[in-house]
Amino acid sequence: MFIDLRGLTKRYGTFAALQDCTLTIERGEVFGLLGPNGAGKTTLLRLLLGYLSPTSGQASIDGLDCHRRSVEVRRRTSYLPGEVRLFGSMRGRKVLKFFAEIRPGGDFRRSLDLADRLELDLSRRVAFMSTGMRQKLALVATLAADTPLMILDEPTANLDPTVRGIVAQLVTESQQRGHTVLFSSHVLSEVEDVCDRVAFLRDGQLAHLQVMHDLKRRHRIRARLAGPWYPPPDPLEKELVVQRDADGRISIETSGEMAPVLQWLSTMNLLEMNVQPVGLRALYDLVHDLGHG
């Protein structure tokens, strides 16, 4: 495993910002962190970077303790903070040069190529850049580092849809080079597009862990019955969650192959039928007890 969290806890007095978080992330994985504000996502990321000392438990990256060997951990990690603040008096080009030079093996040429790809004007001073431009500049500095681990906290905040697409593409490219990406975002569609696994945090606790491949196989079928109800055949029954009401409305959730389900449904007289992938939105609502039906 590349990232290993064992009972990681961070408390401020009686308030637990993160509680007993145990999790492993494999090398080359794109891992998403989801949760409402204050769920503990940023606390987790800051513990990984050694900004905070854990109250108990431990975190390690590539076998290195995140708190005790923070500099070595950061040599293997590039981080984009949720709140990007850069050196106001420097011009964009100088900022990229600074970050390329301060990191052993940093590549300024790669930074310039990325800036070009994101259509970033590097001649301006950071103080005179718009919020979106600053975000792009920080993104370029982070992505150009080419480290085995990238931690991105809300990377697409303040960015237009075109640039968001490019960022998703860059994350995928990093994964193809064998890098691990830890991705925290509130934009569920982005997480759905790029992540292999997703952790849901709630009130500082790890509430649910989801493999995205499994989620993509899950569908929700809504239909109205006009004739008699036939229960699903035996092997299929285990894969389905069926709800029926008195009006003949049925809701079925499936986590397996769709063909046998559709074959079973075709034996009944249905007035209308709607098939939808479950998606992160529904799971998010379920985990956070928002239950929109």
């Binding site: 500099v71 950061r74 050196f87 106001g88």
Partner: protein
């Protein structure tokens, strides 16, 4: 412990302030010497004698001020000189940690493979280097003032009584003045202890401010705190000078260790004690701290504050930017 790029960044961020402070100090010190050269010693003495009742507030006896060296040494106690060094030390010390945290730039800085020690000491190197430059600028300002200015002194004509070899002033002679270059009256080397004392004050203030900065997340609060300490210590010094009952307060204010005029006076009158740690009486017993004793005290306390700041910054949690 020091990172070349962080050093470069720190120099780039602070060079304007340093140039401004150094220019102000250099220009003021030159001007101050020029002003001193505009009044003849007789005029100055007459004015100062009016304030004999307040001599206790003077760091040196008035007799010392009746010398050109003593008058020029007062430059190192002028608010512009002390203020500029304090401004630099407080501005850089406060920016070091709470400034970077407050601006949110510490987050990006510490996302790089640099240690907190490197972040702190690269800035400290620039801060202390700046203090040394400012102290040097103060001495260079007075040195150039001494080298380029002259004073007018009245020429006293006299009669010599033959055989008796007694001289009596010729009151009937026309009044004459002559210009004497200041370099004939002042040895610039005597002012070096004052510049060293200014450096020591800067080190102490920078260290204390950095310590407050290491504990805080807001630069304005760090500056507020150090300003409060500064003013309180200054009031303690004034009160201690004004009242015999409260003279003990002198022991608890760092301004007691900042006595440039006194150290210049020691350099003039007892050159062997110019760099002494302790001053001794005729019997050889030590009576009080010498110039280097006070300087070491200031520099030592500054370095202890830096050490404490390092320990605090190494261990503290880094708050998220607001």
């Amino acid at each position: 412990m020091i990172n070349r790029l962080l050093l470069k960044k720190s120099i780039a961020e602070s060079r304007l302030l340093l140039i401004a402070c150094a220019t102000a100090i250099y220009a003021f010190c030159w001007t101050r010497v020029w002003i001193a050269s505009q009044f003849s010693m007789v005029q100055f003495q007459t004015v100062l004698e009016q304030f004999r009742d307040y001599e206790r507030f003077s760091p040196v006896p008035f007799e010392q001020l009746f010398t050109y060296t003593g008058r020029v040494a007062l430059t190192f106690d002028e608010p512009i000189v002390v203020g500029s060094v304090s401004l630099w030390a407080i501005a850089r010390g406060s920016d070091c940690i709470s400034g970077e945290i407050g601006r949110g730039t510490m987050e990006m800085l510490l996302a790089q493979p640099v240690s907190r020690l490197q972040v702190l000491w690269s800035q400290t190197f620039v801060t202390l280097g700046g203090v040394a430059i400012l102290a040097m600028a103060s001495w260079l300002g007075t040195y150039s003032g001494i080298m380029t200015n002259s004073v007018e002194e009245p020429v006293v004509r006299s009669w010599t009584i033959p055989w008796l070899q007694i001289e009596i002033p010729n009151l009937l002679a026309e009044k004459e003045v002559r210009r004497i270059p200041l370099r004939q009256e002042i040895d610039p080397g005597h002012l070096v202890p004052a510049a060293v004392n200014l450096f020591a004050l800067g080190v102490f203030l920078a260290g204390l401010t950095t310590l407050f900065s290491a504990m805080d997340r807001y630069r304005w609060r760090t500056i507020g705190l150090i300003a409060m300490v500064y003013v309180t210590q200054m009031i303690m010094k004034i009160v201690a000078l004004a009242s015999d009952q409260l003279a003990w307060l002198n022991r608890y204010t760092f301004f007691t260790a900042y006595e440039p005029e006194r150290f210049v006076s020691i350099a003039m009158n007892s050159p062997e004690s110019t760099w002494s740690f302790l001053l001794r009486d005729a019997s050889g017993a030590w009576t009080e701290l010498g110039p280097m004793g006070y300087n070491s005290l200031l520099i030592g306390m500054g370095l202890v504050a830096y050490l404490a700041a390092t320990l605090i910054f190494q261990r503290r949690d880094l708050p998220a930017p607001l």
